[in-house]
């Protein structure tokens, strides 16, 4: 049944069950929101979204009120604007005034609101809350003094990620958002995914930044500073420079990195190919030797920590492969160092990732060899953008360049790692070849593409029937793992990514981009796969060289040392 309502003297039709906010948005009428998260149940906590009912003069929160037939609403009356302005002023009353020094300067919802509603003076003075910075996590910095208690992080962490590392603590003016016992985030079950950063309207949650060390290394003539960039970066970075979402600026990024002073620029998609070689070999070995099934991917450090905390019983199911970042790190400090005749200690290895959990992964004790860590610093997509800006590089005026070779050439199978389902698809392509000696006729596995939380397919490789499942957003992984615990036996191989949509939706990606950005990034990734001719990891000529000259064969002695790892149950406050 269609309902008729009136908004700002304009007649609109609405569907029963819609909220006022949904109808307004659909009709291009903007309403500010803070506590509201799209597609989640409203909490009605902040009331910034109020609109006025003309007849009664009553203010109602549009995000939680369903439309009713005959409603007559004003969205910008003096009363509405006054109310919104007061809410903003109250939020500002105990907010630290350090915008100029804040990581979210120029990209802060509170700043934007205060400007939009023309707040020009501090009318309401509250007691500043002097909460301590929480620097305990390897990935995330919490600054509770900047928190406006919208609750978005709490809900994402609970409802999308299934973790609940943080929640509201105390009541009233003493309220804060934090981990259990208000301790450091590093004591909690936080998996460092950064999804909370992605939804935080202010600078209360940001990634841990390592610019000082990085700049020091870049300016140290004795250091060879090398970069690797993850598959998702080239299709996301453009947004930080106001370019259209999904635009692939791989070559420009390579050039920019060299301008900044990186001595070498490698492509993590190369080691994504390497991961596929090792992981598909591992899968086949498990099939032949009756290993643990289902086998589960291990590329995502968020998922790995999650498994170590909540699902230790599944640790034997995890592939022993290091992630592409760590494989690249290990190869750089071994093979690359040897062939370039560099002392590994003189290499400063930087990886650029769409991910905050990679910062944690880079620090894991297992990810070192002889006391030298595989990766020295991890930058997010956002931080790379900041670095490019710091060096005043004009991306519109540089010529694209190729990545360095070797360790720079990739197949498109390595590139699709960026999307949820990509690792699975790439692994199927190579496993099929390894088992049959023939390439697939159709490379595309469309059942595992797209944004659905759990995707499944049946794959037939020469009579070997494989059930595969792909999931992203760890709440979905919980569901899938529950099915397996309850006895499902028809799934043999699972890809799990912590962030919804996979790495393209990672917690280190541009913030506040348009809702369709994720879709555009995914499209761009699969376009690359469509266009290019080397669509399988095993045909990457540099991968072949690496095995011939250095590694020997997949799962061989060298691989075992450099490319594989172990996992351990983790005791945290959960």
């Amino acid at each position: 049944m269609s309902l008729n309502i009136e908004v700002n003297n304009q007649k609109l039709s609405a569907e029963k069950g819609e909220t006022i906010l949904e109808v307004l948005k659909r009709n291009g009428i903007k309403v500010p929101t803070l506590c509201h998260i799209k597609d989640m149940l409203p909490t009605g906590a902040c009331r910034i979204c109020v609109v006025e009912q003309r007849k009664t003069g009553k203010l109602i929160p549009s995000c939680s009120q369903p439309v009713e037939d005959g409603m007559d609403i004003l969205t910008n009356s003096p009363k509405v604007n006054e109310a919104r302005k007061t809410i903003i002023e109250l939020l500002l009353s105990n907010h630290p005034d350090d915008c100029l020094y804040c990581a979210r300067n120029m990209n802060c919802e509170l700043q934007t609101l205060s400007n939009t509603y023309h707040v020009r003076e501090r009318r309401i003075r509250g007691v500043k809350n002097n909460h301590h910075l929480d620097l305990s996590s390897a990935s995330i910095v919490r600054d509770p003094a900047k928190c406006i208690l919208c609750g978005r992080c709490v809900r994402i962490c609970d409802e999308v990620m299934g973790i609940s590392a943080i929640d509201f603590i105390n009541r009233g003016s003493n309220s804060i958002v934090g981990p259990t016992f208000n301790k450091g985030l590093n004591t909690s079950s936080c998996i460092n995914c950064g999804q909370c950063i992605m939804v935080c309207p202010t600078g209360a949650l940001t990634e841990k930044n390592h610019f000082p060390e990085l700049l020091e290394a870049l300016n140290d003539p004795k250091k060879i500073v090398v970069a690797q960039h993850a598959p998702a970066i080239s299709v996301s970075l453009a947004e930080e420079f106001g370019m259209e979402a999904g635009k692939d600026i791989n070559g420009i990024m390579n050039a920019a990195l060299r301008k900044i002073g990186f001595n070498k620029v490698f492509d993590t998609s190369f080691t994504a190919d390497l991961t596929i070689m090792e992981e598909s070999a591992e899968l086949i070995e498990r099939v032949k030797n009756g290993g643990t099934f289902p086998m589960i991917t291990s590329c995502c450090p968020g998922w790995i920590k999650f498994a170590e905390e909540f699902y230790p019983e599944f640790l034997p199911n995890l592939s022993s492969c290091k992630s592409p970042q760590q494989m690249m790190g290990a190869i750089i400090k071994s093979h690359y160092a040897q062939s370039a005749k560099i002392n590994p200690e003189d290499i400063y290895s930087v990886s650029i990732m769409p991910c905050t959990a990679k910062k944690f992964e880079g620090q894991r004790a297992e990810m070192t060899s002889k006391g030298i860590s595989d990766v020295d610093a991890v930058l997010t997509t956002r931080e790379l953008a900041a670095l490019i800006k710091l060096y005043e590089i004009d991306l519109n005026n540089i010529e694209p360049e190729l990545a360095d070779s070797p360790l720079g050439l990739r197949s498109s199978a390595g590139k699709i790692f960026a999307s949820s389902g990509g690792v699975m698809e790439a692994a199927i392509r190579t496993a099929n070849y390894s088992l049959t000696g023939k390439e697939l006729v159709q490379f595309k596995v469309k059942e595992v593409r797209g944004f659905k939380g759990i995707k499944e397919a049946k794959i037939n490789i020469d009579g070997l029937e494989l059930g595969v499942a792909v999931t992203s957003g760890l709440q979905n992984a919980k569901e899938l793992l529950a099915q397996i615990k309850n006895g499902r036996k028809d799934i043999h191989f699972i890809e799990i990514m912590a962030c919804p949509g996979g790495c393209i939706g990672g917690g280190g990606q541009p913030i506040n981009t348009d809702e369709n950005a994720l879709i555009a990034r995914m499209k761009s990734i699969y376009n690359i796969d469509e266009k290019e001719s080397i669509k399988v990891s095993h045909k990457n000529p540099e991968i072949r060289d690496l095995y011939r000259d250095f590694l020997g064969q997949p799962l061989g002695e060298k691989s075992h040392h450099l490319l594989h790892t172990t996992y351990e149950e983790r005791d945290v406050l959960k």
């Binding site: 609970d158 973790i163 609940s164 590392a165 943080i166 929640d167 509201f168 603590i169 105390n170 009541r171 981990p179 259990t180 016992f181 208000n182 909690s188 079950s189 406050l573 959960k574």
Partner: protein, 154 residues
């Protein structure tokens, strides 16, 4: 008899989310406070994240997270006491003991709790130490009261 946390949980094998607050209350009644251990155990028992339990527990004034001191001082903040200056009394007490309400001194001697009207409005402002009432306290007399207890302990 004081019941152990495990015993309390064992007595409520089927407890669910809705039993969270009664469970916490029972534990506090027996243990005097909610220890970190208690919250972790309740979390496991109810299959709830500890962040949620700590969040709920800190929302209510009735829960404390430190064991009570040997001398537990309840300061009334009911209306009558408020009108006659209980907030200054509380301030002074907190300053004197260098702890806040709901905390316990390092030597475990004193703890402070803020309570609503304890039914002695005629004597306002009132405090109550281990069940013993003190009438018409002032920011001066409160220090004496505390020091008397300290000396008693020596």
């Amino acid at each position: 008899m004081i019941k152990e946390i495990d015993a309390i949980l064992d007595e409520n094998p089927k407890a669910g989310r809705e039993d969270l607050i009664p469970l916490l209350q029972e534990i506090q009644e027996n243990q005097g406070y909610l220890s970190e251990n208690a919250i972790i155990k309740v979390g496991k028992h109810l299959q709830l994240p500890t962040s949620k339990i700590y969040g709920v527990a800190t929302f209510y004034n009735q829960f404390r997270f430190e064991p009570k001191g040997k001398y537990h001082i309840q300061v009334c903040r009911g209306t009558a006491c408020h009108v006659l200056g209980s907030s200054t009394v509380l301030d002074q007490l907190e300053k004197h003991l260098k702890i806040k309400a709901d905390q316990t001194t390092k030597d475990n001697l004193f703890s402070i709790e803020v309570v609503a009207c304890i039914g002695a409005c005629g004597l306002a402002p009132v405090i109550c130490v281990n069940g013993e009432f003190y009438a018409k306290v002032t920011s001066e007399s409160i220090k004496e009261i505390v020091e008397n207890y300290r000396n008693k302990n020596d």
